[in-house]
């Protein structure tokens, strides 16, 4: 069973629907016992980093999630991936979960082509740097759907795939141990996205 962490952030409709379409049993939960019993955990999220991190802390689940992330497949999606890093500089400095080394910074700062639009929103192609079980069904150059203005940086050792945007290599997929993160939304990325969720469910 796959547990989707419920901390009052983000619309979980599409994520739950995607897993259902794949025949993967899932539940949206903030129950410690359910999270402990789950085979794998997904940390979703949209919105601002500081606000989301506060809400996650308020659930009291952070110590449990840090523990569980070491023992079972754990996937952060979009802002949920950003929370995996050490810190974020979105509207002030905020500490993250430090499950993946790196920091979250404004994408705008790192664009060499300042004419491109931020948020980075739409379908971009994925350049795979390292083979990984999570990407086993994904072809090099496949398109995935992004919506974000900040991104993970100084995380080269953990980066599995990037997308080019305005001259910046946008961190698309990271992994450290049993923790994975995707900046894009697999639940909105058509067949490619579904295949990533399927691979995660098979981990």
């Amino acid at each position: 069973m796959t547990a989707i962490v419920d901390y009052g952030v983000g619309n979980l409709f599409s994520l739950s629907s995607s897993l259902r379409a794949l025949g993967v049993e899932s539940t949206v939960t903030a129950d410690p016992a359910v999270l402990r019993a789950a085979d794998r955990i997904i940390l979703p999220g949209v919105g601002a980093f500081g606000d989301a991190m506060d809400k996650l802390r308020q659930t009291g689940l952070v110590p449990l999630l840090l523990e569980e992330a070491e023992r079972k497949p754990f996937l952060g999606i979009c802002l949920g991936m950003q929370l995996l890093f050490d810190k974020s500089l979105e509207y002030g400095a905020h500490e993250g979960l430090s499950l993946v080394p790196g920091e979250v910074v404004s994408l705008r700062e790192d664009l060499t082509d300042q004419t491109v639009k931020v948020p980075h929103m739409g379908w971009n192609s994925l350049h795979i740097l390292r083979e990984d079980p999570l990407l086993r069904y994904v072809d090099e150059g496949a398109y995935v759907y992004y919506v974000h203005s900040f991104y993970g940086r100084n995380c080269a050792e953990s980066t599995l795939a990037v997308s080019d945007y305005g001259g910046a290599a946008v961190t698309g997929v990271v992994r450290r141990g049993s923790v994975w993160g995707t900046q894009f939304h697999p639940e909105k990325s058509g067949e490619t996205g579904l295949s990533i969720l399927k691979a995660f469910a098979e981990l």
Partner: protein, 251 residues
């Protein structure tokens, strides 16, 4: 870089698709769920659902249909029609919409865009505009293009973006239904003024029209309804053609 988007649009009334429906090979030609499936599988980059229902009962049906559609397609979904309040935003977002499109509702209450952008983020708020040339001016129309508001459409767009609209759908009433190509003059005028993504609507009749559109700066997406519904233009063919023309496309 980002791919340009091809966006089919479904006009739904009382739970049924009502405009330009002539699907082949589908059991029920006006079932929005079936049509959404078809587009999800045929390479559409996003779906737009417009609720053109007048009655409250019809609106409930739309919500039910929306939930069914959203649970079965895995590409971005934009929903519009009858969005007048933050409660309306909330209602369609909870049914699985990713973006919400406002038109007449923003004209009636210009503070709606800013309030929604603050609550849900700019990326969630799409400003949809029906525009027609009147006395040498690009004029904003309301109520599905029936009512001249007297407002300069370009001013309206600039204000909308300043208030937090994250994307603009520009539907040219002058070219809509003519199938002679998008209204590039109008679209260029808009692109010179705003830096959010622009979705061009109105006038597409053949695949060359999309190739011409994407040669113009600032054009992110091409939207159409009947030419896709009737299979006059097949989305997979269109996207292969555009990629061969050098346009970045998700295939």
């Amino acid at each position: 870089m980002l791919a340009k988007r091809i966006v089919p649009c479904l006009d739904v009334k009382d739970g049924r698709v009502v405009k330009g429906v002539n699907f082949e090979g589908l059991k029920d030609m006006a079932d929005p769920v079936e049509m959404a499936h078809f587009y999800n599988d045929s390479g559409a980059d996003e779906l737009v659902f417009y609720d053109i229902t007048a009655s409250a009962e019809g609106r409930q049906l739309f919500t039910d249909v929306l939930r069914r559609v959203a649970s079965e397609i895995f590409i971005p979904l934009t929903v519009g029609g009858g969005i007048r309040t933050l409660d309306d935003f909330d209602r369609v977002l909870k049914c699985g919409a990713d973006k919400v499109s406002v038109n007449s509702g923003a004209i009636a209450d210009p503070s709606l865009i800013a309030a929604a952008a603050k609550k849900y983020g700019d990326q969630c708020v799409v400003l949809s505009m029906d525009v027609k040339r009147v006395e040498g001016q690009f004029r904003l129309f309301a109520k599905g293009g029936r009512e001249d508001t007297g407002i300069d459409a370009m001013d309206w767009a600039v204000r909308g973006v300043a208030n937090g609209a994250g994307e603009i759908v520009l539907n040219s009433i002058d070219t809509d239904g003519v199938k002679g190509g998008f209204d590039l003059e109008m679209l260029d005028a808009l692109a010179a003024l705003v830096d959010v993504p622009i979705v061009a609507s109105g006038g597409a009749g053949k695949k060359e029209d999309f190739a011409e559109l994407f040669c113009h700066r600032g054009m992110d997406a091409g939207l159409a309804a009947s030419i896709f519904h009737t299979r006059q233009v097949d989305i997979k063919d269109l996207k292969r053609y555009l990629r061969a023309q050098g346009v970045e496309m998700r295939l």
